[in-house]
Amino acid sequence: MPDQLVYAMEVTLNGLMAGVLYSLVALGFVLIFKASGVFNYAQGVLALFAALTLVGIQNGQVPFAHMINAMTGGHLTDFGWHVPALIAILLTGVVMVLLAIVIEKLVLKHLVNQAPIILFMATIGMAYFLEGFGDVMWGADIKTLDVGLPQGINETIEAVTDRWFGYGFFIDNLDIVATLVAILLVTALTLFSQYSKQGRALRAVADDHQAALSVGISLRFIWVLVWSIAGFVALVAGIIWGTKSGVQFSLSLIALKALPVLMLGGFTSIPGAIVGGLIIGVGEKLFEFSIGPMIGGATENWFAYVLALVFLVFRPQGLFGEKIIERV
């Protein structure tokens, strides 16, 4: 087998894995968009906040230590204990639900029946506030996140491919875990949205607030639920991205990677987020591999957007988005 083809296969595999990671982030956007018609600019920051909180709880950090120290002149840093990963994840989940309740109470409740652009603006405000709040709460230094996920090159795959092709593929264990987690998450969310009564209520609220009220759906409950789920998805994305590249400000920028995925897959479709992520992941890796060297590389930064733009031109609602039917 020619070397180029084997390399391309490895690149494709890695692209698929990267795509899964993009999908994980895109998923959070889709959930909130489906349920409230709002593009939640804060989704990336939500992931950062979740990861920061997780590291903080795991390491027994004192929340707001800097602030308390500055006000009292003390030298608090941590409680001196270490919380097991699983418990820390559960506690972070609780924090994300509390955050959802606070967001609903302080912001969303007052914006019922407002235009989507107003809500979008509100999420921009929330994004920057949360970013600063995360820093104040847990400190702005770069942290490493380790919840015991396997990392490093998967040796089995390397050995097997070496035997087949005479060349061992480098596949990161973490990417494999991410893929499995993404599959689980998507299955659970799809089942929830299609078959549970809360899922049905959630889709109803997305469509029409008045009608939802008239059949006895509490908007506030649904919003807390949606933001909790989005927080949970952000937590999962935060864990995986945080493990991969450390917990720091740039984690919130993964949101930018999700945008082209959404444009491609459609803002309202969970499968769309997955397929869109995979196409973008594979597309940008293969493009970098095949065309990149000819034009000086660094194509990964913009290729996804170009691909998404091309899709937008031909299919504005995205691959799986709801068709916009306007009766004239």
Partner: protein, 273 residues
């Protein structure tokens, strides 16, 4: 029901019970505008009660007060013999008061079946975890039971053939029917219909009339409806409230109302002083 003494039978043999809901001195103001001024009337169990009046008379506002979308500035709403406190629209829906909207509020992205199933949300008691158990916890059984009820309503309203169609694609008349189906799915005590026949052709109107009469007869649902078509109103309703400029100018059986001088004036456009 606080008063069972005057239960009576209608000419077509339906039984009208005591007072189910009573509106006492309802006033509704938006800033300086008075949409409803000191209106009182009652709704009896099992009757078809119409609210009529020229455009801007405050009919829809009245319906919104009953369904809790507006909170009256003054006055009380009594339901099943109890005074209703300040409640959110969704809480009132859960009490058994379902409604349709003047300009159709359906869930366009969902199928007809799913739209109607949302009407049964308040009837489904299984929590999130129980639903995750599906077969094991009986959530599947609950879903199927509710689905059966919905199928019966679908048959009743003759919309079997569009069951799986996304609502957004349906023509106007059918959307109205689906909206009625969704409201019916909640098995309401009182069904509020805001201009159920507006914008329909004669045939569609006749169908809708038949459905309203049938569902009142078959399920005993109390119906409060707003309608512009006087012929329709006089044909199907037991009692009629007439509103004009936010005030009640008439209340009674269709024949009484028809001969009421104030009503004739309002409809023929006699100058208001």
């Amino acid at each position: 029901m606080n008063d069972m003494s005057d239960v009576y039978m209608t000419a077509d043999g339906r039984q009208i019970g005591g007072v189910l809901m009573e509106l006492k001195n309802i006033t509704l103001k938006f800033g300086g505008v008075t949409a409803i001024e000191d209106i009182s009337f009652d709704i009896r169990d099992g009757e078809i009660r119409a609210i009529i009046g020229p455009n801007g008379a405050g009919k829809s506002s009245m319906l919104n007060v009953i369904s809790g979308f507006y909170i009256p500035t003054e006055g009380e709403v009594w339901f099943k013999g109890y005074k209703r406190g300040p409640m959110k629209p969704y809480e009132i829906a859960r009490l058994g008061i379902a409604r349709t909207f003047q300009n159709i509020a359906l869930f366009d992205g969902m199928s007809v079946l799913d739209n109607i199933m949302t009407g049964r949300l308040t009837k489904m008691k299984k929590g999130l975890l129980a639903q995750a158990g599906w077969w094991w916890t009986g959530a599947a059984k609950e879903e199927h039971e509710n689905r059966d009820k919905v199928e019966r309503i679908i048959d009743f309203l003759e919309i079997q053939n569009i069951r799986k169609t996304p609502v957004g694609r349906l023509p106007y008349g059918l959307k109205k029917r689906v909206e009625l189906a969704r409201a019916l799915a909640a098995e309401p005590k009182i069904l509020l219909l805001d201009e159920p026949m507006a914008g329909m052709n004669v045939e569609e109107k006749e169908d809708m009339c038949r459905f309203i009469l049938d569902l009142n007869d078959e399920f005993g649902t109390t119906i409060v409806l707003i309608e512009h078509d006087m012929g329709v109103v006089m044909d199907i309703s037991d009692r009629v409230v007439v509103m004009d400029y936010g005030k009640k100018i008439g209340d009674g059986a269709p024949d009484e109302v028809r001969n009421n001088q104030a009503v004739i004036d309002a409809y023929l456009g006699v100058a208001h002083d």
